[in-house]
Amino acid sequence: MRRAGVGLLAVALAGIVSGCGGAPKDGLTVAMMPKNKGNPYFVSCRKGAEEAARELGVRVLWDGPTETDAAKQNEVVESWITRGVDVIAVSVENKEAISTVLRKARGRGIKVVTWDADAEEDARDFFVNQATPRGIAEALVGHTARLLGDKGEFAIITASLTAANQNDWIKHIKDVLAEKYPGLTLVEIRPSDDDRKRAFDETQTLLKVHPEVKVVMAIASPAVPGAAEAVKQSGRRDVKVTGLGLPKDAKPYLHDGVLDSVVLWNTMDLGYLTIHSAAALAKGALKPGATTLPAGRLKTVEVRGDNVLLGTPFTFTRENVDQFDF
């Protein structure tokens, strides 16, 4: 009886495991990790990655934490090192935590790229950079100028006044204004502390204090729906919102018309470019000092230093937003 029990268990185990196993293929194996497997943002990155894998005949192992968890990321990378994959591609949850294992992987001759979020520089060969601050600034100011007809006042709702990313973008926004759009005036920068309600309140106040402001640029993801809601409730159809954020939050306001556009990057292209970069790195086609990389349907992308650039940001509008689910 007991032996039957043990035997049954072992057979069940073997059955389940072998039932799911695929025969290993030849060719390159790229192990790719998101910060969080369940997040729709990363799910759409994966779509692009698999598209590139089919094109190139590369085998992609896609694994990672089911919720953001730096410890899990390390464990998965460790197992990839043991398996001896050709390339490891990671969207890094925590720089400090992951860099040690990534260095170890490089020490074993495994190529390492980071994508979406970078590790320490000496822990990877290349970073697939989805958007430069300058690119983001140009896209945001471009939309503002289009809405204002190259002349007029606008205001920014930022994350917090000390947020590093946002301040970097604001610096570049000011540069772009000075270089290309002398007719546009940035009258005010207000914080939202990454809070939708705060963005709503700040936008309401802003519209009262500066009635001549015709564009509100919200550059933090929760600030976009907050600002849009405030403009919508004010009934001012002459004021439009643009900004940077996730399409899901923006969707109802894009359809309403109060929100003109949101800038981000195309997540499918990001996954697609990551696999192209990984494959090129493994085959020796992408080396230090490279300035360009041919990447399938993305044509030739720019390589600046050890960053592979995805290129200009992607703009979500009422026409295309329904294709995205994050």
Binding site: V6, A12, V17, S18, G21, V76, T82, R83, N94
Partner: protein, 318 residues
């Protein structure tokens, strides 16, 4: 298929040992580089934090108790250590001791409520499970992430002595200590007696309160120590450290044959249970199986092992 030999005296540990051998054989066949010294070292390294918790939970569960707060206490100890080191200029050694002290204090709180006020351990540690995690999140605003720990400290979590990951020595030391406590000292017998019947143990003159104080205090200390190793392995301390570790540790203990009702359990059983879980996780990854299978198979293993043991004991009685 390995057949367990001998008809009589088949213990739960034998069943487990067969299981571990079976897993090893299976993954050696399916996985790539599964049977290698390097992989053995990584399996061991990744098991230490859960292992310390499981070792300390063994005496707790032997007394018929439970401690659900260890994962949360690990998180709290980790962020206190990180904050002390980074924000208050405490030397790293002292900060690590402080983490163990926080563990001891948390364990002491559980112990006092359970042993002195005689509150049910499930309720007490369910409360401190939330309390400790809440404190950790409150202390850091949920966003602080302490890093930049010195190299010599990180050695404890990332370095090696020869082929052995450094922290495995800590686990081995803890296993010896808990083994002595549970199997070689009179205290071990009294813990089992408490597990069978707390009232009976009291009538037999066993200082039940003091014994319970000891086991819950040890559990807290283990959480603190586990926090130090966690931080050294990952190089970061964040409020979510150790989330869910308590359940994995309890799984290892129960899989290892300790009765959840108390009264019986062994340290080598717990170590085998731990090994069975760790091999499963590692082997599935190396043989390219979806990670979700680990959860399914852990459940199957636990239910299968408990079922096998129940059949076993029926047979003995019959």
């Amino acid at each position: 298929m390995a057949e367990p030999s001998g008809r009589a005296f088949l213990t739960h540990e034998h069943v487990l040992a067969v299981l571990v051998i079976g897993e090893t054989a299976l993954f050696a066949a399916l996985g790539s580089h599964f049977l290698s010294a390097g992989n053995a070292a990584e399996v061991a390294r990744a098991s230490v934090e859960i292992g310390l918790l499981a070792l300390a939970l063994t005496p707790v569960i032997v007394t018929g108790g439970i401690d659900l707060s260890v994962g949360s206490l690990l998180g709290l100890s980790a962020v206190v250590m990180g904050a002390a080191f980074r924000d208050h200029g405490v030397p790293i050694g002292a900060a690590a001791l402080l983490a163990v002290a926080v563990g001891a204090a948390g364990g002491g709180l559980n112990a006092a409520l359970i042993a002195r006020l005689r509150l049910p351990p499930l309720i007490v540690t369910l409360g401190t499970f939330s309390l400790f995690r809440g404190l950790a999140e409150g202390l850091t605003g949920g966003i602080q992430n302490y890093s930049d720990f010195p190299e010599r400290f990180l050695f404890l979590g990332q370095g090696r002595f020869g082929p052995l990951p450094a922290q495995v020595l800590v686990l081995a030391g803890a296993a010896v200590l808990v083994g002595l406590l549970l199997h070689r000292m009179a205290i071990g017998r009294s813990l089992r007696a408490i597990g069978y019947s707390p009232e009976g143990a009291r009538y037999a003159g066993i200082p039940v309160g003091r014994r319970l104080l000891l086991v819950y205090l040890l559990s807290g200390v283990a959480a603190g120590l586990s926090a130090v190793i966690y931080v050294a392995r990952l190089g970061q301390a964040k409020a979510d450290a150790g989330t869910g570790f308590e359940l994995t540790a309890i799984t290892a203990v129960v899989l290892g044959g300790t009765s959840i009702f108390g009264g019986s359990g062994t340290v080598h059983g717990t170590l085998l249970g731990l090994l069975a879980l760790a091999l499963l996780q590692n082997g599935l990854r190396l043989s390219d199986q979806p990670a979700e299978l680990a959860g399914i198979l852990t459940g199957v293993l636990l239910l299968g092992a408990i079922g096998a043991r129940s059949l076993l004991s029926e047979r003995k009685r019959g």
